[in-house]
Amino acid sequence: MSSKRTRMVEKSNNKRQRVDLVSEFSINDHHDVLVEILRRLDGPSLCSAACVCRLWSAVARNDSIWEELCFRQVSPRPSLSIRSIVSALGGYRRLYFLCIRPVLERLPKIIWSRDQLQLSLSLYCVHYYERLYVGAWLGDAPPSSLMFLRKPVNVV
């Protein structure tokens, strides 16, 4: 919501015209800017930001923010072809919570090169495949090879 204040202005032809004063800038009007800012945050800050209000929570679900977070430390930068695959497997946000964040917690000084990234993606694939295809077959409990990584966090 922006508040607009106007005032009456005398124009040269003696007609009055309403002119907008410089309206107060509200970030909530400019989602793209908000996304740009959130992209630069680190994990905990981003999660805090996502708790601010419903709008921010919705904006924070923008996957490009999480993509940035996942790959910030990876060098060389992974190719764009990864993007479609990660989206197909459930998106970067889920990738971050399931595979990247637990690894960072266990190994804070890890150097993210191609191999480490490949391992995370492999685990992500396994998780996706298990969730969709193996669960029903095994019975009650949905299997998760990633249980060893995850703490019980509700990731939707």
Binding site: S81, L119, C125, V126, L132, Y133, V134, S145
Partner: protein, 542 residues
């Protein structure tokens, strides 16, 4: 064998249940770690400073002399509470001082007080420890002829009852000894002795907590089966293949061995097909196909786009009602479509791999790069002579660019039963130890993994002939075999090593896992013992 920190100490069930003032010592309250504790005794749970060993040994001798004297003095052992017998020197001190200075005549257990209570001798739960540093030293039992009531204060106290107390901290060692003794008896065809021993093993195993107890239970089942069934060929309960696959799935989830196998094999395959436009993988044991989603994804992100991926999976014969191979192919196809990889699947059902002929794979050598993959499948073929050679010849005939192989790193195929038994005991003890340390797992996974491994144990121990399929061999043996058929080793690169290291370092309970590179092959082990090996091969001269 690694001792669990959380193991509490349970007295042997045969003993009279001690109660009252004796506290069972628990391993949980360890003393502050003093680095000059004797290591061998520490394994058994006793903390003795190396410098004090001679003193402690002397005091223990004194104690034994006093206790073995069948006089009232030994019964004056009192109602003071003895804590922490693992602190051996202090404990012995207090025992001796009690004995030398009986506190008061009130403690005469033959005297029944006005309330019908009598003193409870305190030694019931505290056997002597072994003197000296010899882990193999014979365990000592304490027989106490006691005049006095034991747990139940209301009981008339004049009946002497002999009590045999055995320290279960040493039952771990005794368990191993009993198992080996039983196997030796079987080796020498002394089935009566073996029969007697296997029963005692069963009891000991049941009272032993932790990984050792579980391993021992499975081994004793195998031994019992071997002793009691005249027909040695029926060395394993037959369950359907889908149950086997379910068990392996649980094993996949609860520990990193299979994941390690898949990821390292995948990396070897990736490095071999970097320039291929069409890739055909033949999987000699498809199971649930858990290996392939990750490979497909890795192919999909390859610079230049993914190749087309064709998978031929070999599985057990299908029943009429379900065609699990086709269903599996469908699931993998859906996955491939989701990530944008062109996919083709063919399922081959075969009772045994030696039934396969090169034509069945329908390879297209002019357009595709062929890969053959086998995870824990090849050792099964060693049960019939000629099988493995036939299969390896078939594999050669389809001209693969690379053959990836994952096998257990152990020699469970020796001719002598006793050697196999000992080797298997060490191997599976390590394996169960590693399962034990994984915390935070759903227990169903771990229990089923233990069942999965238990079936292997029973097969190694009890089966013979064609029924014994768990014929594991070491890397050295496989190298000889592969070399003689005409394969050259392909070293696995550092990428595989790095991925494996990262996998293990984030795995819960990952402190004990070790990845080693051994002459181009990668071995995953627990503590110092390698357990599985991934290796890659190509046609000689290719």
């Amino acid at each position: 064998m690694k001792r669990g920190h959380g193991e509490t100490w349970d007295p042997q069930p045969q003993s009279q249940p001690p109660s009252g003032s004796c506290e069972g010592p628990s391993m949980v309250d360890k003393m502050a770690d003093d680095s000059n504790m004797d290591e061998l005794l520490e394994v058994l749970g006793y903390k003795v400073r190396s410098s004090e060993m001679a003193e402690v040994a002397q005091k223990l001798e004194q104690l034994e002399m006093v206790l073995s004297n069948d006089d009232v003095g030994s019964n004056v052992l009192n109602d003071t509470v003895h804590y922490n017998p693992s602190d051996l020197s202090n404990w012995v001190e207090t025992m001796l001082s009690e004995l030398n200075n009986p506190e008061s005549s009130d403690l005469d257990p033959t005297r029944i007080s006005e309330y019908g209570l009598s003193a409870i001798p305190g030694l019931s739960a505290f056997p002597k420890a072994e003197e000296g540093a010899d882990e193999e030293a014979s365990s000592k039992r304490i027989r106490l002829e006691s005049v006095g009531s034991w747990g139940d204060p209301a009981v008339d106290s004049t009946r002497p009852r002999p009590v045999v107390v055995v320290d279960s901290q040493e039952t771990g060692v005794r368990l191993v000894h009993a198992l080996v003794a039983c196997a030796e008896a079987i080796q020498q065809q002394d089935l009566n002795l073996a029969d007697a021993l296997v029963k005692s093993v069963g009891t000991l195993a049941a009272s032993q907590a932790g990984a050792m107890g579980k391993v021992a239970t499975y081994f004793s089942q195998g031994l019992a089966r071997r002793i009691y069934t005249s027909d040695l060929l029926s060395g394993g309960s037959h369950v359907g293949p889908s149950f086997e696959e379910a068990l392996q799935m649980h094993f996949y989830e609860s520990c990193p061995y299979l994941k390690f196998a898949h990821f390292t094999a995948n990396q070897a395959i990736l490095e071999a097909v970097t320039t291929a436009r069409r890739v055909h993988v033949i999987d000699l044991g498809l199971n649930q196909g858990m290996q392939w989603p990750a490979l497909m994804q890795a192919l999909a992100v390859r610079p230049g786009g993914p190749p087309s991926f064709r998978l031929t999976g070999v599985g057990p014969p299908q029943t009429e009602s379900s065609d699990s191979l086709q269903e599996l192919g469908w699931k993998l196809a859906q996955f491939a479509q989701a990530i944008g990889v062109e996919f083709e699947f063919k399922g081959l059902a075969a009772e045994s791999l030696s039934d396969l002929e090169p034509e069945m794979f329908q390879t297209r050598p002019e357009s595709e790069t062929l890969v053959v993959n086998s995870v824990f499948e090849l050792h099964r073929l060693l049960n019939r002579s000629g099988s493995i050679e036939k299969v390896l010849t078939t594999v050669k005939a389809v001209k693969p660019s690379i053959v990836t192989m994952v096998e257990q790193e152990a020699n469970h195929n020796g001719v002598v039963f006793l050697d196999r038994f000992n080797e298997a005991l060490h191997y599976y003890s390590s394996l169960f130890d590693s399962l034990e340390d994984s915390y935070g797992l759903p227990s169903q996974d771990r229990v089923m993994s233990e069942v999965y491994l238990g079936r292997q144990i029973v097969n190694v121990v009890a089966a013979e002939g064609t029924d014994r399929v768990e014929r594991h061999e070491t890397l050295a043996q496989w190298k000889v075999r592969m070399g003689s058929v005409g394969f050259d080793p392909v070293p696995l690169g550092s990428s595989a090593f790095k991925q494996a290291s990262m996998l293990l370092s984030v795995f819960a309970g990952g402190d004990g896992y070790r990845v080693e590179e051994n002459d181009g092959c990668l071995m995953l082990g627990w503590q110092t013992r390698p357990l599985i090996t991934t290796s890659a091969w190509k046609l000689a001269g290719a």
